[in-house]
């Protein structure tokens, strides 16, 4: 059975376009909900002996003077996450570093048994640097990949791969913006892993396309690409499936602290699988990849025969 992937590429292009526009709109209107690692500030996770409503905690905190603390449940009924932006600390000694102790003391006085599970303080300068480094890392990753693929394949493949990667990255960040999930350092790591993963898929497909362009003498470019996609389809799906299996395990069992990371990867893997079929290959077709692009010295083509 052969699926006509390339015949539906215009439909796929519209689909990709719509999600991309949606992602960019979400990014522009809502923006990424940057976490503590990037914004700086203080984050405190407290555990109570019993179930506690965030509103109760919020009231206690605003009585204690922390008016713009963000309070939310974290993973379970008894866990509360409190985030205090750096702005709300009065000028003075670097008092934000002792905020954790103060807040848990204030809560302990009113609610009773409080366990300070985690307290994090990041200076705004560190956060700003990290934001800059993160952007640079993404660009560096894309740049290095482009050079590597140009070296191993051709410029057209490099463009196709990088287009697929940008597509995946924008949609994954877009999802984080649309649902306002917190984006922290582990999520950035996940994003880079998505780049690695999606690229892995794209290369496997590209590799087969190249092989078929060299070994097949008949057929249009679209036909050869389509044939290659079908040949690699089983592998693409199996690998995506095993990866998704472990990601589900991570989402279900890994706990709240790693959930964002697993979520980013799950979205990325799904989108990455789709993009290796549609985005990279469609770009190749759009760039009019032909046999001449893949012409190789006689000796090497002889080597590639069985």
């Amino acid at each position: 059975m052969t699926i006509d992937f390339m015949g539906k590429r215009h439909l796929a292009a519209i689909f990709s376009g719509l999600i991309l526009v949606g992602s960019i709109v979400a990014l522009a209107l809502l923006g990424v909900n940057r976490g503590l690692d990037f914004t700086g500030g203080t984050l405190i996770e407290v555990g109570f002996g019993e179930s506690v409503e965030p509103t109760t905690v919020r009231n206690i905190l605003s009585d204690a003077g922390y008016t713009n603390a963000v309070v939310q449940k974290f993973g379970s009924e008894t866990d509360i996450l409190i985030r205090v932006p750096p702005t709300s600390v009065a000028a003075g000694t670097g008092s934000q570093t002792i905020l954790g102790d103060q807040i848990s003391a204030a809560l302990g006085a009113r609610i009773g048994k409080v366990e300070l599970r985690r307290s994090e303080f990041v200076g705004p300068a560190v956060g700003d640097e990290l934001t800059e480094d993160a952007g640079l890392a993404l660009l560096a990753a894309l740049g290095m990949i482009m050079v590597y693929i140009m070296f191993r394949f051709t410029g057209k493949f490099a463009l196709g791969a990088v287009a697929a990667l940008i597509h995946d990255v924008i949609i994954t960040i877009g999802a984080f913006a649309a649902f306002q999930w917190t984006f922290n350092l582990p999520e950035l790591a996940a994003l880079l892993a998505v780049i690695g993963y999606s690229l892995n898929d794209t290369i496997v497909v590209s590799d087969r396309i190249r092989e078929n362009f060299r070994s097949t003498r008949r057929g249009t470019s679209a036909e050869i690409i389509n044939y290659s996609l079908n040949q690699t389809l089983a592998r693409t799906l199996v690998t995506s499936l095993t990866t998704l299996l472990v990601l589900v395990a991570l989402l279900v069992a890994g706990g709240e602290q790693i959930a964002g990371f697993a979520r980013a990867l799950t979205i990325g893997v799904v989108i990455g699988t789709y993009s290796s079929i549609y985005v990279a290959a469609t770009v190749l077709l759009a760039l009019q990849l032909s046999r001449q692009d893949l012409a190789v010295p006689e000796k090497e083509s002889a080597d590639n025969l069985p």
């Binding site: 670097g94 307290s119 990949i145 350092l185 690695g196 706990g255």
Partner: protein, 638 residues
């Protein structure tokens, strides 16, 4: 471009193999077996759970912790009803192994009470520790369990920023002092000035251009300065001394090094079992204190800076410009500006109580140069008074919102106080004592003098505390995620690829073991994202096998099984290589930007990629050969 074919075929035998598909070099089985055995050995330490333990170290090098001491310490605990698993001496001190974390905390406070009587200088540091239980024969082979990151072990993580401007100002101050001392020696008169250090240069003013030029020539002849030029500042001729870029970098390195040393000895005082103190980038220092829960105690020591200055009180013949005025006991006192010695010359300091008055005192010991200077200064001034100034610096970060942006303004709050004015009874030497401080000030001063001065002040720019229970929960969740993910993948592969799935599963299990072994061998730190990296590796590691197997399935349509298997492995290899190298590139970039947990993820991902390539090529290939290689196979279960 490299010749693709050769690359692939060298690892899978040469092209003649297609003619003889049964050929598979035996050495590859041995490589696989050898690695498997090594992996078992070096992964093994991770299955032995560590003991809760206390580490006892003498604070003072005169004390030795011997076997008898440890037996007594263990007996103290047993008498208090705490069960002791073992107690023994180690290279630097002693170790007591206990049953639980509750016992551990109780035992710490009991031993602290008994071994360090109140009111005396502390003699023993009692630190919480997790002692590994790796059997001796494994330890002899160099096998160690993986280190746990702070998010798994619990503890405090600090990032401190060293104020390089201060370090620079201090270096320039030294430069100014050196130059003016030289000029005084040479009898060239410069004009005294409060602020010779301006920006990145030292400016020494002179009365006339003639003396300035004379000074310039003289200073240049010493060849001690990177850049030295004649200039003009605020209407008077000056000599401008600058520091070159290379020396600037050296000064920064030295400042960081000195601060690292200072921090290490301060942290030693805290009693942390396995602290990590290291440089991060150009001007930052990262500190990990595993097991520590109380951050306020740690902070009190980290960013504080205390030192002393010893000076002579004003004498009638002193010029007013060389004097300074400070309050003392309700009166203003005049003292000389020049220091006899400073805290930099102190090599040891301990806190004690004055045997007559019962007031706190600090016993001080100077290095030989400081001792001589003290002796030279006090000898001719018997009957005169000496002043001791106590200086405490605390870095302060003020934050303000300007146009919606948070702006940090850093400054040093310095407190200088004349703590003692005493008549010199006799020439002082290397050892003496000072009084006039409160109990806690005496303790901190002794500690901070002993730990060595910091070259430059530091600010806390990042701090993370993870509670011990959260760490344990993170470990449990991580392990559960690995197990569930692993089992799901095993089942799927078995169902989808049958016999070959079993082969892939064996390779996957081995991959996991090699990954753990390599991480343990490299001393890599396992973090929560690191565990996520392992889980991800489990999912992605089968990819190499999946690539090979789908290729084999395709080839089976065209040729007999043995050739299909051969072609499947051969053809897939380059694809695997290309796909993995790019992922490796991404992982390396991650390693570059992230520290701590994210670096942990990058490390596991990178190692996982390499081990999965190894297992696909050597293990799964080898097993497939053992099953199908030796006979003419008619049918393969794939």
């Amino acid at each position: 471009m490299a010749d693709n074919g050769v690359f692939g075929q060298n690892l899978f035998g040469n092209r003649n193999d297609t003619k003889n598909p049964h050929h598979y070099p035996v050495w590859r089985h041995f490589v696989a077996l050898f690695v498997l055995i090594l992996a078992c050995v070096y992964a093994a330490p991770n299955i032995y759970p560590p003991d809760y333990a206390l580490q006892i170290q003498a604070d003072n090098s005169d004390l030795r912790i011997g076997v008898r001491f440890m037996t007594q310490a263990a007996k103290i605990l047993v008498d208090e009803g705490i069960r002791v698993k073992a107690s023994n001496t180690t290279g630097k001190g002693g170790l007591i192994r206990l049953r639980s974390d509750v016992d551990q905390l109780r035992a710490q406070s009991i031993l602290d009470d008994r071994l360090n009587p109140a009111g005396r200088d502390r003699q023993f540091v009692i630190a919480l520790n997790l002692a590994q239980t790796t059997p001796a024969w494994l330890q002899d082979l160099g096998a160690q369990p993986m280190t746990l990151g702070l998010d798994l072990s619990g503890g405090i993580h600090f990032v401190l920023e060293v104020d390089m401007e201060s370090a620079m100002a201090k270096a320039l101050g030294d430069e100014a002092e050196k130059a003016t001392n030289y000029l005084r020696q040479e009898n060239i008169r410069y004009r005294a000035s409060e602020n010779m250090v301006q920006g990145k240069a030292v400016r020494i003013p002179f009365a006339t251009e003639t003396t300035r030029d004379q000074a310039l020539r003289s200073l240049r002849s010493t060849n001690d300065y990177d850049s030295i030029i004649a200039s003009e500042s605020q209407g008077s001729p000056v000599v401008e001394i600058g520091i070159g870029d290379e020396r600037m970098a050296t000064i920064e390195d030295v400042a960081i090094e000195q601060n690292l040393t200072g921090l290490r000895s301060r942290i030693n005082e805290l009693g942390v079992a396995e602290p990590l103190v290291q440089r991060l980038g150009r001007s930052r220092i990262v500190i990990d204190l595993p097991g520590v829960q109380d951050s306020s105690e740690a902070k009190r020591l980290l960013d504080k800076f205390a030192t002393l200055e010893f000076r002579l009180m004003a004498k009638p013949e002193d010029r007013p410009s060389s004097l300074e005025v400070m309050p003392y006991e309700g009166r203003t006192r005049r003292l000389q500006r020049a220091n006899i010695v400073t805290g930099d010359s102190v090599i040891n300091a301990s806190q004690g109580l004055d045997s007559e008055t019962g007031l706190p005192q600090v016993n001080i010991e100077l290095d030989s140069e400081g001792g001589e200077r003290m002796n030279r200064a006090t000898g001719p001034n018997i009957g005169h008074s000496m002043a001791i100034i106590f200086i405490e610096q605390k870095p302060v970060i003020a934050r303000k919102v300007i146009d919606g942006e948070v702006v940090e303004k850093r400054s040093i709050r310095e407190e200088r106080r004349l703590i003692s004015v005493a008549t010199i009874q006799a020439a002082l030497g290397f050892r003496f004592r000072i009084t006039g401080l409160s109990m806690s000030e005496a303790r901190d001063l002794a500690l901070l003098l002993r730990a060595g001065a910091l070259a430059a002040p530091m600010y806390i720019v990042e701090e993370r505390t993870v509670g011990a229970s959260l760490g344990q929960e993170n470990i449990n969740r991580g392990v559960r995620a690995v197990v569930i993910g692993f089992v799901l993948v095993l089942l799927f592969m078995l169902f989808y690829y049958k016999v070959f799935g079993l082969v892939a599963n064996i390779a996957l299990a081995m991959n996991l073991m090699v990954l753990v072994a390599v991480m343990s061998l490299l001393g890599a730190t396992l973090t929560l994202p690191g565990i996520a990296g392992i889980v991800l590796t489990v999912g992605m590691a089968v990819d190499a096998n999946v690539l090979i197997f789908s290729r084999i399935r395709e080839e089976l349509a065209k040729s007999v099984p043995s050739i299909a298997i051969q072609a499947g492995y051969g053809r897939a290899f380059l694809t695997i290589l290309d796909a993995n190298i790019t992922t490796l590139l991404v992982a390396l970039i991650l390693l570059g930007i992230g520290s701590g947990p994210v670096a942990g993820f990058a490390v596991t991902l990178s190692i996982g990629i390499l081990t999965s390539m190894f297992t696909a090529i050597f293990v799964s290939r080898g097993i497939v050969h053992l099953i199908y290689g030796r006979r003419q196979v008619q049918k393969v279960w794939i």
